[in-house]
């Protein structure tokens, strides 16, 4: 299961990347664990997750190719 990840706001600062491709990710919980291991700072950051452009809250099983976006809240105005 391939994940094409798009990162917004400070998540792209933490990872140094705006986009990433990850392979063999069975579900979204594993994706988050993988990211937290790679970038420990992510564990302390709140963000919303969208799978194929729909926001999801629960752990979701992934099949085939997936577009996942991680989006933190912004407060500036």
């Amino acid at each position: 299961m391939r994940v094409h990840l798009t990162l917004f706001g400070q998540l792209s600062d933490i990872t140094g990347k705006r986009e990433m491709i990850l392979h063999d990710i069975p579900d979204t919980a594993t994706l988050l664990e993988t990211l937290n291991t790679m970038y420990p700072q992510m564990a302390n950051t709140k963000f919303a997750m969208a799978l194929n452009k729909k926001v999801i809250k629960e752990n979701t099983i992934l099949h085939g190719d997936n577009n996942i976006a991680l989006l933190p809240p912004f407060s500036g105005g």
């Binding site: 706001g9 919303a48 452009k53 989006l71 105005g77």
Partner: protein
């Protein structure tokens, strides 16, 4: 005469067949409040006033500073030190004297929000902090008002229409997207992170555009969708939002609960707080608050004024499972042990519970 003049004023937009004279009339009848006359609020206000929104409210407690001028396009160097709300109202009055402009030179808080917001149909959130954003969202949910949301961070902006009544879709609100507020320091504000003036100009202008579309029923507004714009690479990213039954539980259930909700605390890093006797007196009236006496067995004085469970500090770790309520008030004789207990519970429960310690203990409360 007024009609003739207005036809000339709005001629270019009335010419749009999608808007027309009927659309113009809808704009005239609309009541829109812009919260924050800052980077987002200024461009939004300029276009909404220009478009002929019949009743346009502005609320801001702040004064104009020199560092505002690169993005807060209503103001000039002559306005430094003046109230943003009052000065913005003066400028908008000169742009369009035919509309009703109402300025509130005060901070929106949970005591005045419902009374102010209830007089408007659409609320634009152009504030610069999470405390205000959650407060505005909750007030809009309670009052069933449409919320046009805009926010920025460095080179990126977010835009959405929340809580818009619709027959086909369940209204989604800000808490459905972000149930928990980030803690202090987790997200930088414009002052800390920096911002180019154009970005709030773009997002604020888009907020005005969504507002005009909602009022005139033209196009496809961002209802229950979030748009992100990156000004460095010009990428737009849109996602669909859905209501979350769990977040509905987090919104104060009525006006009284809203006024009692502590938005500053909700958006703070800490989950353990000191209570002064006045606050303690108020909070013990709430049936959902659990009082915990952490004094050792047999320690006086006995307290008959309220129901508390007794868990001595020495046994707190083992008895944590006995603590079920979301709001917990700990007390002891002088406030020292309850503070330690609050720290223990705060480490255990994190931000899932609100934990309070009676400052200076029952000794000070008895004096009160």
């Amino acid at each position: 005469m007024a009609n003739h003049k207005n036809n000339e004023r709005y001629q270019r937009q009335i010419t749009l067949k999608e808007l027309g004279e009927i659309g113009q009339l809808k704009l005239k009848e609309a009541k829109v409040l812009v919260v924050g006359a800052g980077g987002l609020g200024c461009p939004a206000l300029l276009y909404l006033a220009g478009a002929g929104i019949g009743k346009l409210g502005i609320i801001d407690f702040d004064q104009v500073t020199l560092s505002n001028l690169h993005r807060q396009v209503i103001f000039s160097v002559h306005d430094i030190g003046l109230s943003k709300a009052l000065r913005a109202a003066d400028v908008l009055e000169q742009i369009n004297p035919d509309i009703d402009i109402i300025a509130f030179n005060e901070k929106l808080n949970n005591r005045n929000a419902l009374d102010i917001l209830k007089n408007f149909d659409i609320i634009l959130d152009g504030t610069d902090n999470f405390e205000s954003r959650y407060l505005i969202n909750d007030a809009c949910v309670l009052l069933k008002k449409t919320l046009v949301y805009g926010a920025i961070s460095r080179f990126e902006g977010q835009l959405a229409v929340f809580n818009h009544p619709s027959e086909i879709k369940t209204a989604v609100n800000y808490r459905d997207l972000f149930p928990q507020a980030p803690t202090d320091g987790e997200v930088l504000n414009c002052e800390e992170a920096g911002v180019i003036g154009v970005l709030p100009g773009i997002i604020g202008t888009m907020m005005a555009n969504e507002t005009i579309k909602l009022i005139t029923h033209i196009g496809d507004a961002l209802v229950n969708r979030l748009l992100t714009y990156n000004s460095l690479n010009n990428h737009f990213f849109e996602m669909e939002l859905s209501a979350n039954p769990e977040t509905a539980m987090m919104i104060p259930r009525d006006a009284d609960a809203f006024r009692a909700y502590q938005y500053d605390w909700f958006c703070s890093t800490n989950s353990a707080f000191d209570l002064v006797p006045e606050q303690f007196q108020e909070m013990i009236k709430d049936k959902n608050t659990q009082l915990v006496d952490v004094r050792e067995a047999g320690e006086g004085p006995e307290l008959a004024d309220f129901n508390a469970i007794h868990i001595p500090l020495s046994r707190l770790q083992q008895q944590i499972p006995d603590i079920e309520s979301t709001n917990i008030i700990l007390f002891c004789r002088s406030g020292k042990r309850s503070k330690v207990a609050a720290e223990i519970l705060s480490r255990h429960f994190g931000r899932s519970k609100k934990i309070y310690s009676l400052k200076d203990g029952i000794a000070s409360w008895h004096k009160f």
